[in-house]
Amino acid sequence: MKNSYFPGCNLKTEAKGFEQSAIAVSKALDAELVEMPEWNCCGTVQTMTTDNLMRRIAPVRVLSRASNHVKELKNSQNQVITLCSMCNSTLKIVNAEVKENPNDLEKINFQLENDDLVYEGDMEVKHFLEILRDDVGYENIAKKVTNPLEGMKIASYYGCMLLHPEKAKIDDEEMPTVMESIVLSLGAEVVDWPYFKQCCGSYHIVDRDDIVNSQVVKIIRNAKKTGANALIVACPLCAYNLDNQQVELEKLGVEKEPIPIFYFTQLMAIAMGLPQKVNHFEDHHINPILLLKELGLIGKKK
């Protein structure tokens, strides 16, 4: 089956490994992600104001183009798939808002006239994790595993945008299981830890890295304390903050022995024996290859 896929800006720059590993995994699981044509930035953060329709135009344009793309794909469900959890949240919230307020949708559609687009409110937004859980199923993931991740103790970091707010959450907000279930089906060990959705500091990295650092220290120390040797994430910004700031904290002498940060799809690609180049580990700030080699998960003879 083919799915319309909205990348968002970071998947083409810092998070190439996330996108390419996800596409490779989706093909192997027969739930292929096909990039939609002519997409634009979703706006990154959803506006929580009641009166700012301008901030809602970009997501609606994405939804209307995705709707056209689904028709081209044939046999595809009326859904657009995201990988970045910030895109997921923004698109889901705006989608729900315009469905609830047809007057707002009419005004926004008026703005889309120049692009010859109309959004009918006929799309659903899904995160790739939801596709893996609901369409593919954990047992089918487990069937494709050729290189079980023995020795990996993984703390699943959801961050805030996958679980908040009500309109955008993909799982139970206080006790999610989707990432853990995937980790288990890959043959790795799950770490039960309380900091799975403690905010990483998000966009404060631009001008207040002290806020981000104080969060990263808490999150990483807790992960280590509970025995994790790696973290998985689903958001390029969480990934950057946790990855890069661990290196910065080491330079500052605050925290030693950084632990690697993976996108969940990268671990799936390794467990499923897909070519390693899709993971783009060279973009990481903490080298994840060291741990994988130490555990004998890569570089083995076939």
Binding site: T49, C160, C199, Y203, D207
Partner: protein, 137 residues
């Protein structure tokens, strides 16, 4: 007994109702349980706790609200929103205070001067997010 020391004149009312209008929330729903502040990951960095800010908005104390760094430290993680027993979108109230400043008092915002190397390094979602929350862009 007189309650003259609590002033709630037109100026106060105007601020409170503007925040309510931008956020779409009923500020007076808040009964000061403090769950928002207790669960906030950034409470220790805020000059005023969130529930204190909520009360100041109820009372229309514009200067006190805007002087505090509370709404700028908020990273919109929405933990307060999903936990509020009165179902107030607390993060939307913080957003409304930011928006109020950006719309009506933009001269109080500090302009960012970001070095070139930082701009190259930081993910674009962080830049767009930051500009959208902290500037009128």
């Amino acid at each position: 007994m007189s309650y003259d020391y609590i002033e709630f004149g037109d100026t106060e009312k105007e601020f409170t109702s503007k925040i309510e209008e931008i956020s779409g929330q009923n500020i007076f729903s808040c009964y000061q349980c403090g769950k928002c502040s207790a669960g906030c990951a950034f409470s220790n960095l805020m000059e005023k706790t969130i529930n204190h800010t909520m009360q100041l908005v109820q009372l229309g104390k514009k200067e006190k609200v805007l002087q505090s760094n509370t709404h700028w430290v908020c990273a919109s993680c929405l933990t307060c929103t999903v936990r509020c027993p009165r179902e107030i979108d607390v993060a939307a109230v913080m957003e409304a205070i930011r928006e109020y400043t950006l719309r009506y008092e933009p001269e109080t915002i500090e302009r960012l001067d970001l070095p070139e190397e930082l701009l190259k390094k930081i993910p674009n979602i962080a830049l767009v997010g930051s500009f959208r929350k902290k500037s009128e862009l």
